[in-house]
Amino acid sequence: MMNNLDSKAVSDSRQSKTPAQNIVILALCTALIFVQQIALAGLPNIELVSFLVILYAKIFRFKSLYIIYVFAMLEGMFYGFHIWWISYLYVWTILALITIAFSAVKSPIIWAVISGTFGLFFGTLCAIPYLIMGGPSMAIAYWVSGIPFDLIHCVSNFALCLLLWKPLEKITSKLL
């Protein structure tokens, strides 16, 4: 009975958000993902972008794409619209779509595996523009030279997701 009441309260709270409130929440989430990216930029492939994209896609579902594309634009404006930026237009979208497809998953360990796998394949996904521009040899050279960083990315994504999933999922869910 209590659970039913709780669910109703959550449901009412979700319905009570105005479009303006939703925009503010999405804007704050975008600011958070952008600021932490800059703050952690000095560390080799240790970042919270993957974790936050998974979290946002799990909570906000397709609305998370607004965050992803505004974030990509901000990155381009801050660092310059170089070739790597093209990959930002699809890598985070792929991660968000994978998350939405697996949204029924509850285990933090499975989310950590998804995040770690994404980190491992990050360089592979980013090699696609080099494949188009310079052919297979350039794409393979880019991919191979980045494998040590992909391995770091995998381990750090796995560990950060495992550590942060429960507390931050709880907090972010309340934003709905």
Binding site: G42, G80, A141, V144, S145, I147
Partner: protein, 138 residues
């Protein structure tokens, strides 16, 4: 309930094992495919370009297997150690001004190098160019 828990545990074990296997595949691919420098004596050619002007051109005889060692033996480069290796700031006495978005791009045998100075392997007859580039979106 017990059956569900057992099934969840099985899924987690399979997922973690699959990730570990993928890591092993990537590690093996790196060991097999990464470029290694040639052993023994070799001669490489290095040009340093600022705008349209070549400010330094030099042939280097070296036993180094990677570019950084060869250039440091000639005192051609200086830079800052970073997470990705040496970030080259000064080449042949010319320092890139980050305030003007200047940076040194590296070309190997006429092609933009996909590796930094630490990881660029050397072979006899290789030709390198350090080109002062302006703008981080170049």
């Amino acid at each position: 309930m017990k059956k569900t828990n057992k099934s969840n545990t099985k899924t987690i074990v399979i997922a973690v094992t699959a990730l570990i296997l993928l890591v092993a595949v990537f590690f093996t691919a790196y060991q097999l495919l990464r470029q290694r420098g040639a052993e023994g004596a070799k001669t490489i050619h290095v040009d340093v370009t600022v705008g349209d002007e070549t400010i330094k051109t030099v042939d280097i005889n070296t036993d180094a297997e990677y570019l950084r060692q060869a250039l440091e033996e000639e005192n051609l480069i200086e830079g800052e150690e970073g997470a990705y290796g040496l970030w080259v700031v000064t080449v042949a006495g010319r320092t890139a001004d980050s305030g003007k978005e200047e940076w040194w791009s590296l070309y190997k045998n006429g092609e933009f190098s996909m590796t930094g100075v630490d990881d660029t392997p050397l072979e006899d007859g290789d030709s390198f160019e350090y080109r002062l580039t302006v703008g981080y979106d170049e």
